[in-house]
């Protein structure tokens, strides 16, 4: 192990580090350089875009708010397109969630400070669904583990799992350190996953991700046996209905991999762009994981609780296609439990234009933008047991929100919302 720094900077970078771009940029460069040192990076790379986490007041607290305020006051401004992670509440309709005025005031200030720095203040974990769509091979500094997984795997862009301050620093100085998933060596599969059972419904993909994430930790799994159309960043793929559905289930797969494990990249044979470009991408000598049955994963994701008082769909934030499915399943029904459909502001607006928001609300549910259950101040709210079709949310429910979780298909979740009981 080396005790000296391997990092070599360009003369422009040296100047920024010396403060020639101002104090705010100097601090950003210091953070990026420090991260580069830790990971033995040899150089910095320009980033195409940034996704900034560390938005919910519940997590940031006064310490984080104070830091952001100070940095903004030094003149910190982003120099590349940057989008913001979910906040602790719907930024417009927070009262409907049961959020206190005090929390709302602080949350509002946090988002205003980010906006003052030039971060686009739409708060979502799916930036790739609202216009922050990376190019294949582009270097990014994204935080939000599910979005990192999507960008790396489904689009073939290159990002490590950044922490909040590291991502914001990258947005301000426009650079990140070249290590990990930015390098070809970091993108080679570490495990071959042979899927030998049926994986069809969206919750099947979540259960699979949960199961594999637990076994590979921070590795790079290579899936074989998933029947999906090719995906990628190309507009033709994004627009094709079949590929859009594949994008939805791969979003759920990646979110689960990133929450039960620390996966930031996976490949799917014949489906994801790097696996399509290189048919021999997976080395022969990596460990093999055979998946013959998803029942053990489903059992692990289900708490022993039948009375449901909250149903949540949209973790990660729902796409328009998912909003349509939920609305179709709720039409004409009357809900007994609280029901949250979480999504980005932009997708909500599109859904509203189609009448989908009205359908959900007529049934007694809420469409919540900008926020999610994992980072909202759930301990201040009265819920105990959540039903969801998201393996990510089921994984985090107890630890992050103090909620017991039931996990299953969308149809089961909607039935639970009508009856107040898990339909086992």
């Amino acid at each position: 192990m080396s005790t000296t720094s391997l990092l070599r900077l360009t003369s422009e970078e040296e100047a920024l580090l010396a403060g020639e771009g101002g104090e705010a940029v100097r601090r950003a460069m210091q953070i990026v350089v420090t991260l580069g040192r830790i990971y033995d990076a040899e150089r910095l790379l320009p980033v195409e875009s940034v996704q900034v986490a560390g938005v919910s007041y519940r997590n940031l607290g006064d310490a984080g708010l104070e830091f952001l305020r100070d940095w903004a006051a030094q003149g910190a401004r982003v120099t590349v397109p940057a989008t913001l992670n979910p906040a602790g509440m719907d930024m417009r309709d927070w009262r409907r969630m049961g959020i206190s005025d005090e929390f709302a005031r602080r949350q509002d200030e946090i988002v205003r400070v980010y906006a003052a720095m030039g971060v686009w203040p739409t708060c979502t974990c799916t930036p790739y669904l609202v216009g922050n769509v990376p190019s294949f091979g582009a270097h990014l500094a994204w935080s939000e583990s599910s979005a990192v997984c999507y960008a790396n795997a489904v689009i073939g862009a290159r990002s490590n799992r950044e922490g909040g301050p590291g991502a914001l620093a990258a947005a301000i100085c426009g650079r990140t350190a070249a290590y990990g998933l930015h390098l070809d060596a970091g993108r080679v599969p570490t495990h071959r996953v042979r899927v030998r059972c049926e994986v069809r419904s969206p919750d099947d993909f979540g259960a699979l991700g949960y199961w594999v994430g637990r076994q590979v930790g921070g590795g790079v799994p290579y899936f074989e046996g998933l029947d999906l159309p090719a995906v990628g960043a190309e507009p033709s793929h994004a627009m094709h209905p079949e590929a859009a559905v594949a994008g939805d289930v791969l979003k759920l797969l990646g979110a689960a991999l990133a929450s039960s494990g620390a996966v930031a990249l996976y490949h799917v044979r014949d489906v994801t762009p790097e696996a399509r470009a290189l048919p021999d991408l997976c080395p022969d000598d990596v460990p093999v994981i055979d998946v013959d049955d998803l029942a053990p994963a489903r059992a692990a994701l289900n708490a022993d609780a039948d009375a449901i008082d909250l149903v949540v769909i949209g973790c990660p934030h729902a796409s328009l296609a998912e909003m349509r499915r939920v609305a179709a399943g709720l039409r004409g029904r009357r809900l007994r439990t609280a029901f949250w459909l979480t999504t980005s502001r932009r997708v909500r607006d599109l859904a509203e234009a189609e009448g989908l928001v009205a359908t959900v609300e007529e049934a007694g549910g809420l469409v919540i933008s900008d926020s999610c259950v994992v980072i909202a101040p759930m301990s201040e709210l009265p819920y105990r047991t959540v039903a969801t079709n998201s393996a990510k949310l089921a994984t985090y429910a107890l630890g992050h929100a103090g909620l017991r979780a039931r996990f299953g298909a969308l149809e089961l979740c909607l039935d639970a919302a009508v009856t107040g009981r898990w339909p086992a």
Binding site: T3, Q30, L35, I38, N59, L60, G61, G164, A169
Partner: protein, 129 residues
């Protein structure tokens, strides 16, 4: 007699203080009170000790990335450690120490360090005694 250990500079700076040594990782969010500097993680070997002004020695950081901001707040409250010595640094503590102005050195064999020793950090050198 003083011993000199050599490590890797993560956040440059010189500092001295009395060692506070943990053989277990430290998570700052929820693990350290940002107003007092006391370690509050239940069951942690250093529970109840204050990090303020000490040279804090621990293997590596753990827990939420928000821990970085806790270090910043400790510094603003005047309750930050004088320096941090790690076996292997990770981003949460490194970035937090950087924005808080706390020098950090890593790749030090911390197994021989004990609480109460006077430690001096000078560049890549850690002087014990």
């Amino acid at each position: 007699m003083a011993t000199i250990l050599r490590g890797r500079v993560i956040v440059a700076g010189d500092a001295q203080g009395v060692a506070l040594v943990s053989d277990r990782p430290i998570g700052f969010l929820g693990g350290v009170d940002p107003d007092t500097g006391r370690i509050v993680e239940p069951g942690h070997p250093l529970e109840g000790e204050s990090v303020a002004g000490r040279v804090l020695v621990f293997p590596t950081g753990k827990g939420s990335t928000v821990g970085s901001y806790i270090l910043y707040r400790l510094a603003k409250a005047g309750r930050a450690p004088a320096a941090i010595v790690n076996a292997e640094s990770e981003p949460i503590v490194a970035v937090g120490a950087l924005i808080a102005g706390i020098p950090v050195i890593d790749r030090i064999d911390i197994s021989g360090l004990v609480t109460g020793q006077p430690l001096t950090l000078r560049g890549e050198e850690l002087i014990v005694g």
